[in-house]
Amino acid sequence: MKWLDRFAEKSARRVARSSSRRSFIAKAGTVMLGAAAVPLLPVARANDSSRPPAPTESGDPDSCDYWRYCAIDGYLCGCCGGSFNTCPPGTTMSPITWLGTCTNPVDGKDYIISYNDCCGQSSCGRCLCTRSEGDRPVYQPFLSNDINWCAGSPVDVSYNCSTAVVLGLAVAE
């Protein structure tokens, strides 16, 4: 898909631009490819035990008030045949998406959440969940939940549901 080539080269520019900026939001905007990296770099990153452990969580991942969904806007994949981090059968995960920063009530820490869309079938239609905490306008794409992120998937823009993958800890400076 041709856009990938152009996108790579653009991303480099975006880094250059944003690394001179100070705000966390701007920087969060630049790490969005980290989300892409999860599915794209399994081998390179598989056995890294040096990192802090994944967060301890509580709550129902199929309920809209689950902590990871603070910036979501869509159908919960857990109600659609997938889970909060797995796409339903028949759909393909978009590697590129928007990011949110949600507070885990268990440890009180802020985590970066990657809301990867699942694509290639029409709307699931179940567990529609709209919470836009930290959501930004569409001209700040990687913080905007108004964009159909299936645009970044190999199967294009048919949107089925949204996942919420913990990408990392949000480190305040």
Partner: protein, 378 residues
């Protein structure tokens, strides 16, 4: 393509601040389904208010869990499921511009475990578009050929070889409709004068004989619905007023059997009658007929009901009356020995699950599309 992306990814991860990686959770990917459970059900949704976007949903009747879905195109009716469930065949219609432009009808092949399409056969753009029910298309008994009924309004059928994945051809069937399989190379069609057309195929799937038989009922007296169900070698037709017409299709020509009624004289007086989009279901191993019934007058033959009456097809006796929790326009029974009874109402998108033996209400699964129509069990 991956390699192209990896470079900027690493670049970015290095240049990133305000972000600390943690132990990565299980790799996000698409779920793969296990082999089918007899308690799974496929729920068709023609999306009547948005017809170009028909869908079909897979639900596990035991857990009530929604397992996945397929998009089915314009005027979606139902899937075709071979006995071994090795593939899913879906007759679909599309326009190049959504609801206008060039029409393309296809049989899409889906992998039943990944629900990903793995092929298609383009067929004549003529498949019947109408209020969905079963019998608009069917597989031959050996699951080799798929027959699709066409209406343009010229009437014909298309034959697809699903093994070689090719269109065999199209044959005119003037005056006759629907597809009721009766063997590996034979099926019946229902004609406007109350007769059946017996169509025979050769091993290439080509139509070798079309034989129109005498009417087995009098349309001027009481019509049988097009929602006939199969009981082994017998097709079971039920009329608007509840008369049951069994027709043996094991031979070269159909042999109508002795008719009987779903209703006693008292019940007829109380104007009980069958009704719904899919108002009949057969549980083969127990020879039971499940009939969705209601009390109503002429013109209510497609109305929903809240009563399912169960009959022994051998003794033609009523065995049981099941009072449903909610209105129903379609019922289906799973094929296993501990069967579930499934029910949907086109006016309220939820799937209701009952114990098909005791009639006990087990659970309801909500948010099942917009206008659920047809139920199918593997």
């Amino acid at each position: 393509m991956l390699r192209k992306l990896i470079v900027p990814v690493c670049l970015l991860l290095q240049s990133t601040v305000g972000f600390a990686e943690i132990e990565r959770e299980s790799l996000p990917e698409s779920r793969v389904l296990p082999g089918p459970s007899p308690h799974w059900v496929w729920v068709s949704d023609m999306a009547f208010h948005n017809m170009p976007d028909g869908k079909v949903y897979l639900v596990d009747g035991d857990s009530g869990k929604f397992l996945g879905m397929l998009s089915g195109g314009l005027g979606f009716t139902a899937l075709e499921l071979p006995a071994d469930y090795s593939q899913i065949y879906s007759p679909e219609t599309y326009f190049s511009r959504g609801s206008r432009g060039e029409r393309t009808d296809v049989i899409t092949f889906y992998d039943p475990r990944t629900l990903q399409p793995n092929g298609e056969v383009i067929i004549p753009p003529k498949r019947l578009q109408g209020m969905p029910t079963h019998n608009y298309s069917a597989l031959t008994d050996d699951d080799r050929f798929l027959i699709v009924y066409n209406f343009t309004p010229a009437q014909s059928i298309s034959v697809i070889d699903v093994q070689e994945r090719r269109l065999v051809g199209e044959t005119e069937t003037a005056g006759c409709a629907l597809v009721l399989p009766s063997g590996n190379r034979r099926f019946q069609m229902m004609c406007g004068d109350g007769s059946l057309l017996t169509v025979t195929l050769n091993d290439a799937g080509e139509v070798t004989n079309k034989q129109r038989n005498e009417p087995f009922f009098d349309p001027n007296d009481d019509w049988v619905t097009e929602k006939a169900v199969r009981w082994g070698d017998t097709w079971v037709f039920v009329s608007y007023l509840g008369t049951v017409y069994p027709v043996d299709v094991s031979g070269d020509r159909p042999r109508p059997g002795k008719t009987w009624s779903l209703f006693s004289e008292e019940e007829k007086q109380a104007s009980w009658r069958p009704g719904g989009i899919q108002h009949l279901a057969v549980h083969l191993t127990s020879d039971k007929l499940y009939a969705l019934v209601h009390q109503g007058q002429d013109g209510t033959h497609k109305d929903p009901g809240q009563d399912v009456w169960v009959y022994d097809l051998k003794t033609q006796k009523k065995l049981q009356e099941i009072k449903l929790e909610k209105l129903s326009s379609a019922i289906q029974v799973s094929k296993d020995k501990a069967p579930l009874l499934f029910s949907v109402f086109i006016g309220n998108p939820a799937l209701d699950v009952y114990d098909a033996l005791s009639g006990e209400y087990l659970r309801s699964v909500d948010e099942i599309g917009m206008t659920p129509t047809v139920l199918q069990t593997p």
